[in-house]
């Protein structure tokens, strides 16, 4: 294939009926073999953005380009092609699996939809199942007959049977106990290596993002405020919102050594975002300029980008 194996998002905006601009001009890139984390609080637009990548939301402006093909004005056949290249796993696995299909049927359906030869493909499906720790004896069970953890794996298997290049995972660990959360994350990283997937993980769990992603984009009210290699962003955040998020993340600290930065105020409604910098109403470092002029996302060293008039100095 001549085209680069990437998903490129160019300046997209998504507005819902009622005028809520959930995503307001975002550009991002995801390549195969890479894990990108998308972090933000409720209403920041992270799920809306993720859905735009699988064609479930139509941007009103901007473009989404998957492996060289522009998704703007998708035709039916484009859509089918897209679904094969980019798959999504949803937050609640059980509700994303039809209760009336056996696991066998759930796994065979994507092959039929994409016109793949099920007989030829079946050994690969079984191989995928064993990688996911699912026994063949479970093939004839219904989703409600397996445990929650297994249902999650079935959802992942179903996403991967048609051999996509990209996997979008919306809060894959939400609601999981810590003892099994690691198992799921280990699994995703194994699958990534095995199938050289490009993975986008949407999460509000900073520990998860910090541990499993290569790059991270921090969203606030429909905008990316900071992006870059995860380790560097976490070590030395440039945007005050990133710093506050990292600081609010509960960590084990029985001696209370860490000083938290607790932001005051509520997250403004995305239907009426503040003028100027969208974060200015809660920013501890706000200056008059921030209320009037919106900072642009600018490139910095080491492939980092941030949108702040007064970026934080790296801690010495």
């Amino acid at each position: 294939m001549a085209e680069s194996k990437t998903i490129e998002v160019e300046n997209i905006s998504v507005t819902f009926a009622g005028g809520v601009q959930a995503v307001a001009g975002i550009s991002l890139k995801l390549s195969v073999g890479e894990t990108l984390g998308l972090v933000g609080e409720s209403g920041s637009g992270k799920t809306t953005l993720a859905k735009a990548l699988v064609g479930l939301n139509r941007p009103e402006s901007g473009r989404v380009v998957v492996e060289g093909r522009d998704l703007t004005g998708l035709t039916r056949s484009d859509r089918l092609w897209l679904r094969q290249r980019v798959q999504m796993i949803f937050q609640d696995p059980l509700s994303s699996l039809s209760p009336r299909f056996t696991i066998r049927k759930l796994l065979a359906e994507p092959l039929a939809i994409h016109g793949l030869n099920a007989k030829e493909r079946w050994p690969a499906v079984l191989d995928l199942m064993s990688r996911l720790g699912l026994a063949e004896t479970q093939l004839d069970k219904f989703p409600h007959q397996v445990s929650g953890g297994q249902a999650r794996r079935v959802a992942i298997a179903r996403a991967l049977v048609a051999d996509p290049s990209f996997l979008i995972a919306d809060e894959p660990t939400a609601g999981l106990d810590v003892s099994v959360q690691g198992e799921l994350l280990n699994l995703l990283s194994d699958l990534q290596q095995r199938f050289s997937l490009g993975i986008l993980i949407v999460s509000h769990n900073l520990n998860v993002i910090g541990r499993v992603t290569d790059r991270v984009a921090i969203m606030y009210l429909g905008k990316v405020v900071e992006e870059g290699p995860t380790r560097e962003v976490f070590r030395a955040p440039k945007h005050p919102y990133t710093r506050a998020l990292l600081s609010a993340n509960p960590v084990i600290d029985p001696e209370h050594k860490r000083k938290k930065i607790v932001l005051s105020g509520e997250i403004p409604s995305p239907s009426k975002p503040p003028a100027g910098c969208r974060f200015h109403t809660r920013c501890p470092n706000v200056q008059p300029r921030c209320r009037e002029e919106e900072p642009l996302l600018t490139e910095a060293e080491n492939g980092r980008r941030y949108a702040c008039h007064f970026p934080l100095e790296s801690a010495a």
Partner: protein
């Protein structure tokens, strides 16, 4: 057992009837909550922490088939009370903050009406006007600006963080001796969670009662609580002062839980720790140590059930290795 315990739970066992037989949700739980203390209950799904919270409120579900042991509030056994006596205690001496304020608040009544109703049990003699005044003052106290306007608002008109503040205000208006907070921040964003945790700390500083804080987040527990009880499959497997417990986690389950926490500072690409296996069947509870089947340190003796033994002052763990 502390001297001035406000709540003393002794040998509490609770069963639920199901089609498969009795589920032993709690087994011989002992817990002591001192006055002005924040006690954390930590454990994964199925550990029994919510059952314990409901038992304190006298709100056990209808299929509860067996309750033995005692829950004493200042020496009075709550389990021996009649339903009407319990009702009298709820909202006066014991109050609860629920996980999801959207479902705990009534959507068709204003915040003001709900805050007034919550106080009726506590202040039966005060009129609506007086109670509204108290409600407004409490909203200011929990950090809600413009309380007058908020009193006439409906729950859906408030943000998630504000709704949780309303829930906290409602609980505090009852002036309870015991405040139970069941995962009060799970539905909230991290920056709002930090605000609520700060608020709970502030309240504790001027509140004469005790707080029982139920959570699955060891991080939150370590930041907020004075004491911690770690629960697994219906048992308290380790308990003690927060610092001692985190410095010297002594039960293999506590150690495993701590190891599962993702440390963002370690190298990416390292395998994440998990606890192999699953919860034991609580209908047919295995004999011996409840954690044995998943324990990396299991040995012969684990076929007998270990009692809680002291590791450090006030810090106990139920493991043969301590």
């Amino acid at each position: 057992m502390t001297e001035d315990a406000l709540v003393e739970i002794r040998n509490l066992s609770i069963d639920f009837a199901t089609g498969r037989g009795a589920v032993h949700a709690l087994r011989e739980v002992n817990l002591s909550v001192g006055r002005r203390r924040i006690v954390g209950l930590v454990g994964e799904s199925g550990s029994g922490k919510s059952t314990l919270a409901l038992a304190l409120l006298g709100l056990l579900p209808e299929n509860t088939s067996k309750v033995t042991g005692s829950i004493e509030l200042e020496g009075k056994n709550l389990l021996a009370l009649k339903p009407e006596q319990l009702e009298h205690l709820r909202g006066r001496r014991i109050a609860m903050i629920f996980q999801d304020p959207m479902t705990a608040l009534n959507p068709v009544f204003t915040i003001g009406t709900q805050l007034v109703d919550a106080q009726r049990n506590r202040h039966p003699r005060l009129g609506r006007k007086e109670l509204l005044k108290r409600a407004a003052a409490m909203l200011t106290r929990v950090g809600i600006s413009d309380p007058k306007t908020r009193l006439s608002a409906y729950p859906h008109q408030l943000s998630g963080g504000m709704r949780q503040r309303v829930m906290i205000a409602m609980a505090l208006l009852c002036e309870p001796d015991v405040l139970i907070a069941d995962e009060p921040t799970t539905a909230l964003d991290v920056t709002i969670e930090a605000q609520i945790v700060d608020l709970i700390k502030d309240i504790q500083a001027e509140f004469s009662g005790s707080i029982i804080f139920v959570s699955h987040s060891l991080g939150l527990i370590s930041e907020l609580c004075d004491e911690v009880a770690v629960m697994y499959a219906g048992k308290v497997v380790e308990s003690g002062p927060t610092r001692s417990l985190f410095e010297r986690p002594s039960h293999p389950y506590t150690q495993a839980l701590l190891a599962c926490e993702i440390d963002p500072d370690t190298e990416p690409g390292e395998r994440l720790v998990t606890i192999k296996g699953g919860l034991p069947d609580l209908v047919d509870v295995p004999s011996g140590c409840i954690f044995a089947a998943r324990c990396p340190a299991r040995f012969d003796k684990c076929s007998q059930e270990p009692a809680l033994r002291e590791v450090a002052p006030g810090h106990n763990a139920a493991c043969w290795l301590v």
